[in-house]
Amino acid sequence: MSGNHEKRAALKAAFPHTVPILTGFAFLGMVYGMLMASKGYGAGWSLLMSMVVFGGSIQYVAVTLLTAAFNPIQALILSLTINARHLFYGISMLKKYTGTGRLKYFLIFALCDETYSLTSTKEPPEGISAKWFYFWITFLDYSYWVIASFAGGLLGGLIRIDLEGLDFVLTALFVVLFLEQWREKENRLPAAIGLLCSVISLVVFGADNFIIPAMILLAVSLLCGKSRLSKQYHSQKAGEEK
């Protein structure tokens, strides 16, 4: 297969998966750009922020930081804590992203929640290049966010959109991906453990501080269940190879 044809085929296979993210990012990105504009940071700043930082929740938090006193150390620590969950994403993508060559830097650089939720659970269709399939998912999601936040900055106070609740599209995406995972029997135990650990942490530590305790609880539980879970995992792998 020629290089260009290979890339185009992968793009065609990747795009439909990203449509919910296009919807969610178009909305959340625009709102972000508008919020920044309302604090005196125009479209250029939103564009720069989205291109360089590319992280939804930290960018929203940063709007407040940018209007407070200059404190880069606080910004760094806050960014590390809010984004600590990415460590898990990397661990689960080590294998899939092996052999992706130059593309790997971009795949890692732009590995956000939404992109991870797709690249970790979707496999490229028969005959489609895996590395280009993952690249396009990552690149499309990245572009949606960057373009939307720039557009939001340009529109600024010009229009008022009443699309309250549209951000639920990302929740809906994660629910659907959860259901898809649930269909595979060997995923049910880890999925249930994930749900339980997150809910317990949320109840105990509250909405603003639950992610890191949830991650620790999750890792400990999965490691404790290793003998049972890995047996299931291996028997499934063996089943696939038959």
Binding site: V52, L80, Y89, L94, V175, R188, S198, Y233
Partner: protein, 108 residues
């Protein structure tokens, strides 16, 4: 804040994000054998983390006051129903989101 200070802030935020994204790949480069435990975690984490992301999205919902999280609960039930019935991801996502927006309008 001056322009330079804003740029320093952006770089600090970006550094935080990039450290969390790159660390696993720096610790376990392609030419090194990944420890079995890490490999195992990598294989079971995706379903567990997707569950975490669902909870993360719902973290600010108040199930005890106001609308008691009814718009969220009903929309998620609708997604489960739709998805079990048709198993069309885009349809389930669109249906759930539209229902949520309608519910939010009336009982939110």
């Amino acid at each position: 804040m001056s322009t330079v200070q804003v740029i320093i802030m952006i770089l600090a935020l970006a550094a935080g994000v990039m450290v969390t994204r790159f660390v696993p790949f720096v610790l376990f480069p392609e030419n090194r054998q990944v420890p079995k435990t890490v490999e195992y975690l990598g294989s079971v984490l995706p379903p567990a983390v997707i569950a975490l992301l669902v909870v993360y999205c719902l973290r600010n919902v108040d199930f005890l006051h106001g609308s008691f999280g009814l718009p969220e609960i009903l929309s998620i039930l609708a997604i489960c129903g739709l998805h079990t019935w048709k198993r069309n991801s885009l349809l389930s996502i669109a249906g759930g989101t539209i229902l949520y927006m309608i519910l939010l309008h009336f009982i939110g």
